[in-house]
Point group: C2
Chain length 401, copies 2
């Protein structure tokens, strides 16, 4: 099954009902905005000075030159310019007094006591930020479904907002399965005893924890035991909106996760058992009473790819998030690569500057457990299942990690 | 003064003494690694299966074909393969028994009871991940000065680490100055009274808060009053490693921040009063007894640019951080743009796909207070001071925001 079909199917079946809460702006970066926000005012709300200087009437400077410096008498800042022969000291951001329509910069005049001499004409609205030139009253500032960025907070502050409606944080339960997988707390001797130190669940935990709109609850390890898996699933389902299992999803007999979950006495719907991606083929999706459960490979790289391409894409779709999950850029591939029929192939790759271009070098390592490729990679190359491969020198779109 | 010279000067003068602490891996993503970490073991630590299947001796399959299926008798998993006619059920990740050197996949055999039939030859080490093929004993996994990413945590877990040495979080004090600037709590009526609702300090706060190796302490507002500024500076210096002021840095008389700080009764060193960047010209840097103080513009866009190009670049240099601050990519500019002599010009811009390429469109708005340009921008174009501008259609390197 392709990722697209799986996500399409998932979205048809699952309706996440995430409540909305009011949050102070200073905590809202990274949360998902739950309302369309329009500006109630023009910004700037009045014509204002863009510099430190002197506000005056521009026409009165029209004949100014270094041979013909024009004097203006300074008066205190007020709401009106008394006459065309006056100028008013003004700071950056201050409102332009009525009657003035330009600001001459401090650096551009000669000042003698309370007289300034202007040496060249100032255009009308010179150094003035016009009312509404930044943001117009009624303009959409933040759309529902936007992951809030710092610049949104700046705009919302400018229109006098101190709180914003956001979706409450999604609870994601994370469980590691596989009798051979143990905590790194067991130390290196675990390897000698035939066990594997877990590295996949901390990877998934750390990637997801960087998204502020999620709350990752890490449940540790369960063995390949039907009762343990079912009990843990019940518990974690009660406490979360979505579950992620790592490991225990292969076709072998010892991997009991998939089997145990679908045999639970619940409303079960299988969306995918295995997906047409490499690495990540064992990735499976089950819905248990409106809650999605993602079963990822126990291998770090396969789980990492499926996390972005399956879990996060599914979440972005379910939550109608408008931001891009990946930045995609074109790069010249420096090595020939082959796909594998029937599978979307994901290659870890290194991006680098080459002359005028961006080049990308696939990291050619076998297997889906290759940690080093993740350490070195800063990009992903996708070879879609209907494409044989890419030629050396071809320009392809890659995803920046 | 150019940014480069200012940072060079700063680094000569300031030595940040940031202590090192031991941190649990699960909290360490985003922190700066304070040690070079080498792998104490090979990974995988033994030849292991890359699939779910049956471990066997590859030579024994050499004449296998669909016309000549070769039977193997299954025996229980153990540390040794009893004979060349035996195969051992094995799970992904399990150690290959001695005497076996390949794994045939579950899907590729016909099984009848405790006999499997292999239909094609398996190459030596087929479906086997070799000892050390991922990471070699002694290999550098994470270098000192690296901002730790999730994939580093996975590698460190795999070598049995549960804690890592990181630099303690840097304390950054953030202070807003300017008598005309008030908190958004004052509401829209503040504009009618001639005040400006602050939007710059929440922007800076939110950008910096996304960096986990920093701790941003937000002190609120001080007026353009020498005593207030000095008192706040004393207090904030005691509590932080670095201070950032927004606003109050113009050349006008009402902006007292720079003047007040340099007149403090302390060991003062001025690195820059104003920088050759637009927007961001008022940006200034003062060292007070080994602690850098950055004075940024009160305008959000100017402060935002200076935050990345001056403050963060300076921090990355001071802390010897190895990660890139920006991702840079080439894009075709769709409009002619001009620089301004003597200044590095920063234009906010929109990146978009155009045919096979990435195109970039500068957002042409005057002024440094233009919030909308920040909302729409996803890239920065830099026109260096020695460059007149860029032609329409020219390919330039841009920074992704």
């Amino acid at each position: 099954m392709s990722i697209d079909s799986a996500i399409e199917e998932l979205v048809k079946v699952v309706k996440l009902n995430i409540s909305v809460q009011d949050m102070e702006l200073e905590n809202a970066a990274g949360m998902i905005c739950a309302e369309d926000i329009y500006s109630p005012i023009d910004l700037p709300p009045f014509d204002r000075s863009a510099v430190d200087g002197y506000a005056l009437y521009s026409e009165a400077t029209s004949s100014a030159s270094s041979n013909n410096p024009i004097p203006f008498k300074l008066v205190n800042y007020g709401s009106v310019l008394p006459s065309h022969n006056n100028a008013v000291p003004i700071s950056t951001g201050q409102r332009i007094p009525e009657g003035a329509d330009a600001v001459v910069m401090v650096e551009d005049v000669i000042r003698e006591g309370d007289i300034i001499y202007v040496m060249k004409p100032i255009p009308k609205y010179g150094n003035v930020s016009r009312k509404g030139e930044d943001i117009r009253k009624g303009e959409l500032l933040v759309a529902k479904g936007t992951i809030i960025k710092p610049q949104h907070l700046a705009a919302l502050s400018a229109i006098g907002m101190t709180h914003v409606k956001v979706y409450r944080r999604l609870n994601i339960g994370l469980i590691s399965t596989g009798s051979e997988v143990v905590s790194p707390l067991q130390g290196l001797k675990a390897y000698e005893q035939g066990f594997i130190l877990d590295s996949t669940s901390i990877l998934i935990f750390a990637v997801l924890s960087a998204y502020k709109f999620m709350n990752v609850n890490w449940y540790g390890f369960v063995k390949d035991d039907e009762h343990e898996i079912k009990a843990m699933t019940e518990k974690a389902l009660n406490e979360n909106d979505i579950l992620i299992f790592t490991g225990g999803t292969g076709p072998g007999e010892s991997d009991k996760t998939f089997k145990s979950i679908v045999e639970m006495n619940r409303d079960i719907r299988i969306i995918a058992r295995g997906l047409a991606i490499r690495p990540g083929r064992p990735t499976s999706i089950i819905i248990v009473e409106n809650k999605p459960i993602f079963l990822l490979s126990g291998f770090p790289v396969a789980a990492y790819i499926a996390l972005y391409e399956v879990v996060l894409r599914a979440l972005y779709t379910l939550l109608k998030i408008r931001n891009e999950l990946f930045i995609e850029v074109p790069a010249r591939i420096v090595k020939r690569v082959y796909g594998s029929a029937g599978y979307d192939n994901y290659l870890r790759a290194k991006l680098f500057k080459c002359n005028e271009d961006l080049c990308v070098e696939p990291i050619m390592l076998r297997g889906s457990g290759i940690l080093k490729s993740l350490l070195e990679a800063n990009a992903l190359i996708v070879i879609p299942r209907n494409v044989e491969g890419f030629e050396k020198g071809e320009k392809i779109w890659i995803k920046i990690l």
